[in-house]
Protein backbone atom coordinates (compact mmCIF):
# COMPACT_ATOMS: atom_id res chain seq x y z
CA UNK A 1 0.00 0.00 0.00
CA UNK A 2 1.37 3.40 -0.98
CA UNK A 3 0.71 5.05 2.40
CA UNK A 4 2.43 2.21 4.29
CA UNK A 5 5.43 2.58 2.01
CA UNK A 6 5.67 6.28 2.90
CA UNK A 7 5.51 5.64 6.63
CA UNK A 8 7.90 2.72 6.70
CA UNK A 9 10.37 3.83 4.10
CA UNK A 10 11.01 7.56 3.70
CA UNK A 11 9.77 8.82 7.07
CA UNK A 12 11.79 6.51 9.26
CA UNK A 13 14.29 5.12 6.79
CA UNK A 14 15.71 8.34 5.39
CA UNK A 15 18.00 10.60 7.37
CA UNK A 16 16.44 13.91 6.31
CA UNK A 17 12.84 12.84 6.87
CA UNK A 18 13.81 11.17 10.15
CA UNK A 19 15.15 14.56 11.28
CA UNK A 20 11.92 16.25 10.18
CA UNK A 21 9.91 13.57 12.00
CA UNK A 22 11.84 14.16 15.25
CA UNK A 23 11.35 17.91 14.81
CA UNK A 24 7.62 17.32 14.48
CA UNK A 25 7.73 14.96 17.45
CA UNK A 26 9.38 17.64 19.61
CA UNK A 27 6.73 20.10 18.45
CA UNK A 28 3.84 17.72 19.09
CA UNK A 29 5.21 16.91 22.57
CA UNK A 30 5.30 20.65 23.32
CA UNK A 31 1.78 21.16 21.95
CA UNK A 32 0.58 18.06 23.81
CA UNK A 33 2.09 19.21 27.11
CA UNK A 34 0.59 22.71 26.77
CA UNK A 35 -2.87 21.54 25.72
CA UNK A 36 -3.06 18.76 28.31
CA UNK A 37 -1.79 21.04 31.07
CA UNK A 38 -4.46 23.62 30.17
CA UNK A 39 -7.14 20.93 30.00
CA UNK A 40 -6.15 19.45 33.37
CA UNK A 41 -6.10 22.88 35.04
CA UNK A 42 -9.50 23.66 33.52
CA UNK A 43 -10.95 20.41 34.91
CA UNK A 44 -9.30 21.10 38.26
CA UNK A 45 -10.83 24.61 38.42
CA UNK A 46 -14.24 23.14 37.68
CA UNK A 47 -13.75 20.68 40.54
CA UNK A 48 -13.53 17.66 38.27
CA UNK A 49 -10.83 15.24 39.34
CA UNK A 50 -9.25 12.50 37.24
CA UNK A 51 -10.93 9.68 39.18
CA UNK A 52 -14.33 11.24 38.40
CA UNK A 53 -13.82 11.05 34.65
CA UNK A 54 -11.53 8.08 34.27
CA UNK A 55 -13.90 5.59 35.92
CA UNK A 56 -15.36 4.66 32.54
CA UNK A 57 -18.79 6.22 33.12
CA UNK A 58 -18.03 9.07 30.74
CA UNK A 59 -17.43 6.84 27.76
CA UNK A 60 -15.41 8.48 25.01
CA UNK A 61 -14.36 11.44 27.21
CA UNK A 62 -12.68 9.00 29.62
CA UNK A 63 -10.82 7.40 26.72
CA UNK A 64 -9.78 10.75 25.19
CA UNK A 65 -8.39 12.02 28.50
CA UNK A 66 -6.49 8.85 29.38
CA UNK A 67 -2.68 8.99 29.40
CA UNK A 68 -2.40 6.27 26.74
CA UNK A 69 -4.64 8.17 24.31
CA UNK A 70 -2.75 11.39 24.91
CA UNK A 71 0.57 9.69 24.18
CA UNK A 72 -0.88 8.00 21.12
CA UNK A 73 -2.22 11.30 19.77
CA UNK A 74 1.16 12.99 20.19
CA UNK A 75 2.95 10.19 18.31
CA UNK A 76 0.24 9.77 15.71
CA UNK A 77 0.07 13.48 14.85
CA UNK A 78 3.88 13.69 14.49
CA UNK A 79 3.85 10.65 12.21
CA UNK A 80 1.06 12.08 10.05
CA UNK A 81 2.88 15.42 9.74
CA UNK A 82 6.19 13.69 8.97
CA UNK A 83 4.55 11.52 6.32
CA UNK A 84 3.00 14.54 4.62
CA UNK A 85 6.36 16.28 4.34
CA UNK A 86 8.32 13.16 3.37
CA UNK A 87 5.89 12.53 0.54
CA UNK A 88 6.92 15.86 -0.96
CA UNK A 89 10.63 15.59 -0.31
CA UNK A 90 12.16 12.19 0.03
CA UNK A 91 10.09 9.97 -2.25
CA UNK A 92 11.06 11.41 -5.68
CA UNK A 93 14.75 11.88 -4.82
CA UNK A 94 15.02 8.31 -3.53
CA UNK A 95 13.38 7.03 -6.69
CA UNK A 96 15.82 8.96 -8.92
CA UNK A 97 18.81 7.78 -6.87
CA UNK A 98 17.71 4.13 -6.98
CA UNK A 99 17.18 4.39 -10.73
CA UNK A 100 20.70 5.80 -11.22
CA UNK A 101 22.24 3.17 -8.95
CA UNK A 102 20.49 0.39 -10.89
CA UNK A 103 21.87 1.82 -14.10
CA UNK A 104 25.35 2.02 -12.60
CA UNK A 105 25.11 -1.66 -11.64
CA UNK A 106 24.46 -2.47 -15.28
CA UNK A 107 20.75 -3.19 -14.95
CA UNK A 108 18.79 -2.31 -18.08
CA UNK A 109 16.63 0.47 -16.61
CA UNK A 110 13.33 1.55 -18.17
CA UNK A 111 12.57 5.23 -18.76
CA UNK A 112 12.25 7.12 -15.51
CA UNK A 113 8.67 8.29 -15.07
CA UNK A 114 7.31 11.06 -12.86
CA UNK A 115 3.82 12.30 -12.27
CA UNK A 116 2.61 15.15 -14.47
CA UNK A 117 3.64 18.48 -12.96
CA UNK A 118 6.22 16.88 -10.66
CA UNK A 119 8.91 19.35 -9.52
CA UNK A 120 11.63 16.97 -10.73
CA UNK A 121 10.20 16.66 -14.23
CA UNK A 122 13.01 18.76 -15.80
CA UNK A 123 15.74 16.67 -14.20
CA UNK A 124 13.94 13.45 -15.14
CA UNK A 125 13.61 14.64 -18.75
CA UNK A 126 17.37 15.27 -18.86
CA UNK A 127 18.12 11.89 -17.30
CA UNK A 128 15.92 10.11 -19.84
CA UNK A 129 17.62 12.06 -22.62
CA UNK A 130 21.00 10.90 -21.25
CA UNK A 131 19.78 7.29 -21.12
CA UNK A 132 18.42 7.48 -24.70
CA UNK A 133 21.72 8.89 -26.01
CA UNK A 134 23.73 6.10 -24.38
CA UNK A 135 21.34 3.44 -25.69
CA UNK A 136 21.52 4.91 -29.21
CA UNK A 137 25.30 4.93 -29.12
CA UNK A 138 25.29 1.21 -28.20
CA UNK A 139 23.25 0.43 -31.31
Amino acid sequence: MASTRFILHPVLGHQRSRKIFFLYLALSITIGLLVNWKMDSLLHQAGIYPEMIRDGRNGLASILLSTNTRLFLVLFSALIAGTLTAKHVVGPVNRIRNWLEDWEKGIDVPKLAVRKGDKFSDLVRLLNEFRDKIQQSRQ
Partner: protein, 140 residues
Protein backbone atom coordinates in the same frame (compact mmCIF):
# COMPACT_ATOMS: atom_id res chain seq x y z
CA UNK B 1 26.42 34.48 -0.30
CA UNK B 2 23.16 33.19 -1.72
CA UNK B 3 20.47 35.83 -1.76
CA UNK B 4 17.53 34.23 -3.48
CA UNK B 5 15.69 31.85 -1.23
CA UNK B 6 12.95 31.15 -3.74
CA UNK B 7 14.41 29.31 -6.71
CA UNK B 8 11.62 26.78 -7.41
CA UNK B 9 8.41 28.59 -6.37
CA UNK B 10 6.09 25.68 -7.18
CA UNK B 11 8.03 23.10 -5.22
CA UNK B 12 8.85 25.44 -2.36
CA UNK B 13 5.22 26.51 -1.98
CA UNK B 14 4.08 22.88 -1.95
CA UNK B 15 6.78 21.93 0.57
CA UNK B 16 6.10 24.93 2.83
CA UNK B 17 2.37 24.26 2.70
CA UNK B 18 2.75 20.58 3.53
CA UNK B 19 5.14 21.40 6.38
CA UNK B 20 2.82 24.01 7.91
CA UNK B 21 -0.32 21.94 7.28
CA UNK B 22 1.41 19.00 8.98
CA UNK B 23 2.12 21.12 12.07
CA UNK B 24 -1.42 22.53 12.02
CA UNK B 25 -2.77 18.99 11.87
CA UNK B 26 -0.94 18.27 15.12
CA UNK B 27 -2.66 21.21 16.81
CA UNK B 28 -6.00 20.09 15.35
CA UNK B 29 -5.61 16.43 16.34
CA UNK B 30 -4.38 17.07 19.89
CA UNK B 31 -6.58 20.13 20.46
CA UNK B 32 -9.60 18.56 18.74
CA UNK B 33 -9.50 15.46 20.95
CA UNK B 34 -9.45 17.66 24.06
CA UNK B 35 -12.23 19.93 22.75
CA UNK B 36 -14.34 16.85 22.05
CA UNK B 37 -13.69 15.54 25.57
CA UNK B 38 -14.56 18.97 26.99
CA UNK B 39 -17.83 19.10 25.08
CA UNK B 40 -18.75 15.59 26.18
CA UNK B 41 -18.00 16.37 29.81
CA UNK B 42 -19.99 19.62 29.64
CA UNK B 43 -23.00 17.55 28.52
CA UNK B 44 -22.30 14.49 30.65
CA UNK B 45 -25.22 13.18 32.72
CA UNK B 46 -22.83 11.77 35.35
CA UNK B 47 -21.45 15.19 36.41
CA UNK B 48 -23.27 17.62 38.74
CA UNK B 49 -24.80 20.73 37.12
CA UNK B 50 -22.46 23.15 38.95
CA UNK B 51 -19.37 21.45 37.57
CA UNK B 52 -20.78 21.34 34.07
CA UNK B 53 -21.59 25.05 34.21
CA UNK B 54 -18.07 25.89 35.50
CA UNK B 55 -16.57 23.81 32.72
CA UNK B 56 -18.67 25.51 30.04
CA UNK B 57 -17.71 28.95 31.40
CA UNK B 58 -13.99 28.27 31.29
CA UNK B 59 -14.01 26.47 27.97
CA UNK B 60 -13.50 29.69 25.99
CA UNK B 61 -9.97 30.14 27.40
CA UNK B 62 -9.15 26.65 26.17
CA UNK B 63 -10.44 27.42 22.68
CA UNK B 64 -8.33 30.58 22.70
CA UNK B 65 -5.23 28.56 23.55
CA UNK B 66 -5.86 26.22 20.60
CA UNK B 67 -6.40 29.21 18.31
CA UNK B 68 -3.18 30.90 19.48
CA UNK B 69 -1.23 27.69 19.12
CA UNK B 70 -2.49 27.36 15.55
CA UNK B 71 -1.58 30.95 14.69
CA UNK B 72 1.85 30.68 16.31
CA UNK B 73 2.52 27.45 14.45
CA UNK B 74 1.72 29.05 11.09
CA UNK B 75 3.66 32.26 11.81
CA UNK B 76 6.69 30.50 13.30
CA UNK B 77 6.98 27.60 10.91
CA UNK B 78 6.34 29.28 7.55
CA UNK B 79 9.77 31.02 7.31
CA UNK B 80 11.49 27.93 8.69
CA UNK B 81 9.73 25.66 6.17
CA UNK B 82 10.67 28.03 3.35
CA UNK B 83 14.31 27.91 4.44
CA UNK B 84 14.20 24.10 4.67
CA UNK B 85 12.68 23.88 1.20
CA UNK B 86 15.49 26.06 -0.15
CA UNK B 87 18.12 23.90 1.54
CA UNK B 88 16.54 20.95 -0.16
CA UNK B 89 15.86 22.27 -3.64
CA UNK B 90 18.63 24.88 -3.97
CA UNK B 91 21.15 22.64 -5.77
CA UNK B 92 18.54 21.30 -8.23
CA UNK B 93 19.03 24.26 -10.59
CA UNK B 94 22.80 23.68 -10.67
CA UNK B 95 22.32 19.97 -11.19
CA UNK B 96 19.95 20.54 -14.13
CA UNK B 97 22.29 23.07 -15.73
CA UNK B 98 25.28 20.77 -15.28
CA UNK B 99 23.34 17.87 -16.80
CA UNK B 100 22.35 20.01 -19.80
CA UNK B 101 25.98 21.02 -20.40
CA UNK B 102 27.01 17.38 -20.27
CA UNK B 103 24.34 16.37 -22.75
CA UNK B 104 25.52 19.10 -25.12
CA UNK B 105 28.99 17.57 -24.90
CA UNK B 106 30.49 20.66 -23.28
CA UNK B 107 32.33 18.60 -20.63
CA UNK B 108 31.77 20.93 -17.66
CA UNK B 109 33.82 20.56 -14.46
CA UNK B 110 32.61 18.02 -11.89
CA UNK B 111 29.65 19.31 -9.90
CA UNK B 112 30.46 19.67 -6.22
CA UNK B 113 27.63 19.90 -3.75
CA UNK B 114 27.79 20.26 0.00
CA UNK B 115 27.76 17.01 1.98
CA UNK B 116 24.48 17.97 3.60
CA UNK B 117 22.76 18.80 0.32
CA UNK B 118 19.85 16.50 -0.36
CA UNK B 119 20.81 16.10 -4.03
CA UNK B 120 24.39 15.11 -3.16
CA UNK B 121 23.94 11.28 -3.50
CA UNK B 122 22.11 11.79 -6.81
CA UNK B 123 24.83 14.05 -8.19
CA UNK B 124 27.56 11.64 -7.04
CA UNK B 125 26.08 8.62 -8.88
CA UNK B 126 25.26 10.79 -11.87
CA UNK B 127 28.83 12.13 -11.94
CA UNK B 128 30.22 8.60 -12.07
CA UNK B 129 27.81 7.62 -14.87
CA UNK B 130 28.62 10.74 -16.89
CA UNK B 131 32.32 10.10 -16.45
CA UNK B 132 31.85 6.52 -17.65
CA UNK B 133 29.91 7.56 -20.74
CA UNK B 134 31.55 10.94 -21.43
CA UNK B 135 33.36 9.70 -24.54
CA UNK B 136 30.11 8.43 -26.07
CA UNK B 137 28.35 11.70 -25.28
CA UNK B 138 31.05 13.74 -26.98
CA UNK B 139 30.94 11.53 -30.07
CA UNK B 140 27.22 12.24 -30.60
Amino acid sequence: MRRHFITHPKFQTAFTLSFVVGALLMVLIIGGANILALQMLANSPTLPMAQKTALAQQASSFYQLILWLGLLTVAGLTPFALFLSYKFIGPLNRLELWMEQNLLGQDPPFLTLRKKDEMMPVSAVLGRLLHKYSARLRRQ
